[in-house]
């Protein structure tokens, strides 16, 4: 029913999707999986017409729909459930669903009883019968997601696109949603699911396509894809090799960073739940978990960038009430997943901004030290940050963070989207850092193989909760299998 061939999408210089091809039949559920930045959501938006493909063909029931505006695609029989709920907050649930049923004509001046009945029927079907007259701000998160499903299927689409169906749901809710989606399949519709977690959709999909950096890297049944070598290497960093580890400094005394029972909500969704961890001075602690497990949210809570309940203590004192900039000045420096570089400034300017609190001599010394650690940056001092390669940008981001002379460096997914060759360089740099300084590091990574050789201790985070904690040696025996 849906055929995608050689789909390519470029945003300026960035290639988000490259030569992607797959197909979905009626009565089948296909899962498009990949980490953040793999291009899966972009591919889905290209199918729906929200973005226009740069090249390639998208055929729906034999008809080329690439480049059509989304409202035309929708009327041809394609429905999309967005990743984030987008309700009309001033309208009731019933009215929200009715919008999906109204035809695209200007003459609709009177409410029709027929539309009203159909809206009610759909609401009953997805389980919203009891809350029809309530407004979205009063609804539970799962109900908001149900409403999104209701809107997407209101027009009886032949193809349903679902973006991250289970994000933010509890186990029981996941089961309920899976059933609803399975019903679509039973009705003969084609379903395309997009998610970053094979495990959670494995039970539901008939086939899966794995993506990385915009390209397809594997295809087959869910089990086949999970076992695929390339997939494991790219998502997990390959086989878990016990590498020589640095001698761990004596870790005793009060923890430098203490996180107690932190909980973060985005709107209704619970992103981080009851997480408690600690990091001692000089330790290298790794927080491993798949994309979307809650690492970034937790780091943002520690850095003061999102509101949270629970407590974060730094060097014995609570961080509550400090601005994020104050927390950074206090010694907790984060190098986020998105790097947040100053794109139009040169490498040198970025670094100098990082050292804005240093005296000129100290600044020069620090710069020298960092150029030693990351020689490629010395070569590229005058180059504008935006034009650097992914690996170089990551190194610049880390170097800039180090310019701030942090006591605790929080690194969020430094290896995301980088070619394996760069990972070695990064790994070496981290080794040298550990060897020559008393820097404390909290590393968040999906790539366990990258994290293991450096870590003194490991936490595993899954769906916003800590699932395991311990030494790297024990990880392989105890937690590794459950990980993917």
């Amino acid at each position: 029913m849906l055929e995608v061939e050689q789909l390519t999408k470029r945003f300026g210089g960035l290639v988000a999707v490259k030569n992607l091809g797959f197909s979905v039949r009626g009565g089948e559920i296909l899962g498009l999986i990949g980490p953040n930045g793999s291009g899966k959501s972009t591919a889905m938006r290209c199918v729906m017409g929200v973005d226009a493909p740069t090249a390639g063909a998208v055929r729906f029931e034999g008809r080329d729909i690439a480049g059509l505006p989304s409202h035309k695609v929708s009327r041809l029989g394609v429905g999309l459930v967005f990743q984030h709920s987008r309700p009309l907050n001033r309208q009731t649930v019933l009215e929200n669903i009715k919008v999906a049923l109204i035809p695209d004509r200007l003459g609709m001046l009177l409410h029709s009883a027929e539309i009203d009945d159909r809206a009610r029927a759909i609401a009953e079907r997805v389980g919203l019968g009891a809350v029809l007259d309530r407004k979205p701000p009063t609804l539970a998160f799962a109900d908001l997601r149900r409403m999104e499903l209701a809107k997407a299927i209101a027009q009886h689409p032949k193809l349903v696109l679902v973006d991250e169906p289970f994000a933010g749901l509890t186990a029981t809710e996941v089961a309920a949603f899976s059933e609803l989606i399975a019903e679509f399949r039973a009705e003969g519709r084609a379903v395309l699911l997009v998610d970053h977690n094979v495990k959670s959709v494995a039970a539901l999909v008939d086939r899966a396509v794995a993506m990385y950096l915009g390209e397809k890297i594997a295809e087959g049944t869910a089990a086949e894809v999970m076992r695929d070598e390339t997939v494991r290497r790219v998502y997990l960093g390959g086989a878990l090799v016990r590498a020589a580890r640095d001698a761990a400094p004596a870790a005793h005394g009060a923890p430098l960073l203490e996180v107690r029972d932190v909980e973060v909500r985005y709107g209704k969704a619970l992103a981080v739940q009851g997480v408690s961890l600690h990091v001692r001075e000089g330790e290298f602690v790794a927080l491993v978990g798949l994309n979307g497990a809650g690492k970034t949210t937790l780091f943002n809570a520690i850095s003061g960038l999102v509101r949270h309940s629970g407590e974060v203590r730094w060097a014995g004192a609570p961080l509550a009430g400090l601005t994020p900039a104050a927390i950074a000045r206090g010694g907790i420096v984060q190098c986020p997943e998105t790097r947040e570089l100053f794109g139009d400034m040169t490498v040198r300017e970025n670094l100098e901004l990082g050292g804005h609190r240093l005296e000129p001599t100290a600044l020069a010394e620090r710069l020298d030290w960092l150029f030693d650690l990351f020689p490629i940056l010395r070569e590229r001092t005058g180059q504008v940050a935006r034009t650097l390669s992914g690996g170089e940008q990551q190194m610049l981001a880390i170097a800039r963070a180090l310019m701030m002379e942090p006591r605790l460096l929080i690194l969020d997914e430094p290896t995301l989207g980088l070619a394996p060759v760069i990972l070695e360089t990064l790994s070496n740099a981290l080794h040298r850092l550990r060897g020559s300084t008393r820097l404390t590091v909290l590393l968040g990574e999906q790539n366990v193989t990258f994290a293991l050789p450096h870590a003194d201790r490991l936490y595993v985070i899954d769906h916003g909760r800590l699932a395991w904690e311990g030494e790297p040696d024990r990880f392989e025996t105890e937690a590794a299998d459950a990980y993917l």
Partner: protein, 312 residues
């Protein structure tokens, strides 16, 4: 048929109360009060038309006076030039038509851009019109203004009823539109165009429709007001400060309620009059109050009545 719960909704109740009060005024009010309220009622229609565009299509029109001015001046110029061969009402219709055409011409570039650019485009339109009026002074009367030979009526009471009736009918139509399925789609287009597109709606088409409706009512009200006042001038119909007054009226009354805009307009005009003894300070105080409303009561009068101070 929709259940009659809509009859009990706050905006409708407020609207009916206003209408009832308004109907009583000619019995007790002086000619001065009637005249004041007549102007207030026309302003109410300006504000309601603005609210439909903003509240429902999500587009901030910083130059509603572009549409109003087009309607007013077209009607005025036609009458000044062609009277007595042409009926006053024909001029009014021509004014409305001119405003609609102007609205479409404005909408085309404006709808292609987002955010601040849209607002700026509408502001530029007003400036253009203002400059055109001054430049073609022999046609438009320039800064002094244009006198029109015809007026709708010389009786203050008759003028009052015309304005009152016009406001009531326009209000009913605009409010009805806002509550109809089209209104629902406009809300969706305004709040979340991406989602509206994914649900199958041609967002541009619907926003253009909202523009046309807003332009029609603005132009019509402007044209009618010319034949009430007997003159057209930049200061009453085109100036940016008039536009600001309209926006403030709609925000004051409560965005997205249509009826609120009418309440805001009447309130604002009444307050302006009440403060007239203060002379030059009047505008300053009104602007100050408006600023306070924008800062502290963003949901407006109707919003406060509905006890809503939560963010949407």
């Amino acid at each position: 048929m929709a259940p009659p719960s809509w009859l009990r909704s706050r905006p409708v109740v407020a609207g009916l109360v206003i209408l009832a009060l308004g109907a009583c005024v000619p019995l007790v009010g002086s000619g001065y009060v009637l005249g004041l309220l007549t102007v207030a009622f026309y302003t109410a229609v300006f504000a309601m038309a603005w609210d439909l565009l903003f509240g429902f299509a999500g587009e901030v029109n910083f130059g509603p006076t572009f549409l109003i001015g087009l309607g007013a001046y077209t009607a005025g110029i036609l009458d000044a030039r062609l009277a007595p061969n042409v009926s006053l009402w024909l001029c009014v219709l021509a004014g409305a038509a001119a405003a609609v055409i102007g609205g479409v011409v404005l909408a085309l570039p404006a709808l292609r851009v987002r955010g601040p650019y849209f607002g700026l485009t509408t502001l530029v339109a007003v400036l253009m019109l203002q400059n055109m009026v001054v430049v073609f002074a022999d046609l438009t009367g320039g800064e002094i203004g244009l006198s029109v030979p015809d007026v709708m009526s010389v009786s203050a009471t008759a003028n009052y009823w015309i304005a009152f009736g016009f406001m009531a009918v326009s209000g009913a139509i605009l409010y009805g539109l806002s509550r109809s399925p089209i209104g629902l789609v406009l809300q969706a287009s305004g709040q979340d165009p991406v989602q509206a597109g994914a649900l199958g709606f041609n967002v541009t088409k619907h926003k253009l429709f909202a523009f046309v409706v807003s332009a029609f009512f603005s132009g019509l009200a402007g044209a009618l007001m010319v034949f009430y006042m007997g003159t057209a001038s930049v200061g009453t119909f085109v100036d940016i400060s008039v536009g600001v007054q309209i926006i403030v009226a709609a925000v004051l009354g409560g965005r997205r309620t249509v009826i609120g805009a009418a309440i805001g307009a009447v309130f604002l005009i009444a307050m302006g009059e009440a403060l007239r003894p203060l002379g030059e300070l009047a505008t300053l105080i009104v602007s100050l109050l408006a600023l306070l409303v924008v800062l502290f009561f963003p949901d407006g009068i109707l919003g406060m009545l509905q006890g809503r101070s939560r963010r949407d």
